[in-house]
């Protein structure tokens, strides 16, 4: 028989295998992320000092915008295939399966953006120690975004609106993530004390880790009814 965690882990592995089937998708979202970030200097002008000052905000907003379109179709294909139906009929608790899928989505959607963030940080004139901070905080903030995104994807499953509609649900909930994330990153870059902001971001992550899986599970159970 299988232990409680083996089914979610199995699902996580298969999700990654499915994503690796089309590495092009990940590349596309990274390019989108890079392009959003290059828009800002084009808009504001090449003034390196100004760019360095607002670089954390640019990168965090770019991560949110680049990850948003992929949240929309997190479950639509599996719902159509019937995989969601099998997940609901699995002995493993649905919230755990949802957590596994959210973590898989973190690897597929957020990790590529984080790995390319340092390049952009340098382009925006950030110092080296800033890069580590950005990578660490984006990892945590990215997890929050993925958890909020998985809730929104479940809630909008089966609705007739798609595309920007999911942003109306994700963004209001993601604003605290942006606030804490940017402030933590800025604090590190300006040499200030980032621990306070980081603790708040970590607290928010824990809240979402507890809230998002059951809500996504309930949303999908309703959609499959």
């Amino acid at each position: 028989m299988t232990t409680l965690l083996s089914i979610p882990m199995m699902l996580f592995v298969h999700d990654l295998r499915a994503a690796c089937r089309y590495p092009g998708d990940m590349l596309a979202s990274v390019m989108f992320f890079v392009m959003i970030t290059t828009l800002v200097p084009l808009g504001l002008g090449p003034d390196q000092a100004l760019l360095a000052q607002i670089a954390p905000a640019i990168i965090w907003i770019a991560v949110m915008l680049a990850s948003l379109p992929q949240m929309d179709r997190l479950y639509t294909r599996e719902a159509r295939d019937g995989v969601l139906e099998q997940m609901l009929v699995s002995p493993a608790p649905m919230p755990l399966l949802m957590l596994a899928k959210a973590l898989a989505a973190w690897v597929i959607i957020i990790l590529p953006l984080i790995l390319s963030a340092p390049v952009l940080a340098v382009m925006l004139g950030l110092s080296i120690n800033g890069l580590l901070a950005i990578v660490a905080f984006l990892g945590l903030g990215g997890l929050c975004l993925v958890l909020i995104g998985s809730m929104a994807a479940g809630l909008t499953l089966g609705s007739r609106r798609s595309g920007v509609f999911i942003a109306l649900i994700v963004l209001p909930l993601a604003m605290p993530v942006l606030i804490f994330g940017v402030m933590a990153t800025t604090a590190v870059l300006t040499g200030g004390d980032a621990i306070g902001h980081l603790m708040l971001l970590a607290a928010l992550t824990l809240i979402l880790l507890v809230l998002a899986p059951p809500v996504s599970a309930a949303a999908i159970r309703f959609a499959e009814e």
Binding site: M10, L11, H14, R80, Q86, P91
Partner: protein, 236 residues
């Protein structure tokens, strides 16, 4: 709602595969199945017949716990959904309309995933054996999106071959014989008979002729509050 306390103390092996008591399920705020009573013993097959939209799929998915019932209750192997969801899910296999093959995986891994989701942990050659039963072994590496509809349906049914070690599971199958060619249909029939002989049971919905002899036939459209089970013919 039947009290969970009044649980079925019958021994595990002797509990009827399926008991349905006064089950009512509504769809779109509209009672589609009203006051259904039925019982299925080990080794029996129940056939669901009726025109489209009469509630065959609703009943099957309701028994799988996917659709909440208005009132009444049902138990599979003496376990009711309300009391123990996880354990209940180990009492059934659901083959729905949709094949549940993850689109961007290849046939082998798609089957491994659905088997894993059902709580099995099949070995590699066990999966290849299951693929072989439906003549899909050659296509193990083929992407799901490159398989024909018939092949995808055979892949979905190949999952059944992995449950030979768990005959207690109730097979809930939604029009399994649709769009199947002859040898796939006979393979499915063979698997089903083997399942029934080892004490399993099945609820199957479908239209027209099906190569199985049903112990009970529910015509869901003429069913208004009382069970109308077909004549009891012993299995030849």
């Amino acid at each position: 709602m039947m009290g969970a306390t009044q649980s079925y103390e019958l021994g595990f092996m002797t509990a009827p595969r399926l008991i349905i008591r006064d089950l009512t399920i509504s769809r779109g705020g509209y009672p589609l199945i009203t006051g259904l009573n039925a019982q299925l013993e080990q080794g029996q097959v129940m056939l669901l017949r009726g025109p489209n939209g009469c509630g065959k799929t609703t009943l099957l998915r309701g028994l799988a716990g996917l659709i909440p019932q208005d009132h009444g209750d049902f138990a599979i192997n003496g376990i009711s959904a309300a009391s123990d969801h996880a354990n209940m899910m180990r009492q059934l296999v659901l083959i729905g309309h949709r094949n549940a093959n993850a689109e961007s995986l290849d046939a082998y891994h798609a089957l491994a995933m659905t088997a894993g989701l059902a709580g099995l942990a099949p070995s590699a050659d066990h999966i290849m054996m299951a693929l072989e039963t439906f003549a899909m072994a050659g296509l193990a590496k083929r992407q799901i999106s490159h398989l024909s509809a018939g092949q995808q349906r055979r892949l979905a049914l190949a999952r059944l071959a992995l449950f030979t070690a768990e005959p207690h599971r109730l097979w809930l199958m939604d029009e399994p014989f649709n769009a199947l060619d002859d040898d796939a249909a006979s393979t499915l029939n063979h698997l089903l008979n083997h399942h029934l002989e080892s004490g399993g049971a099945a609820v199957i919905s479908g239209h027209g002729a099906m190569p199985i002899t049903a112990n009970q036939t529910l015509h869901l459209d003429q069913l208004k509050g009382q069970t109308q089970s077909g004549k009891k013919e012993d299995r030849s």
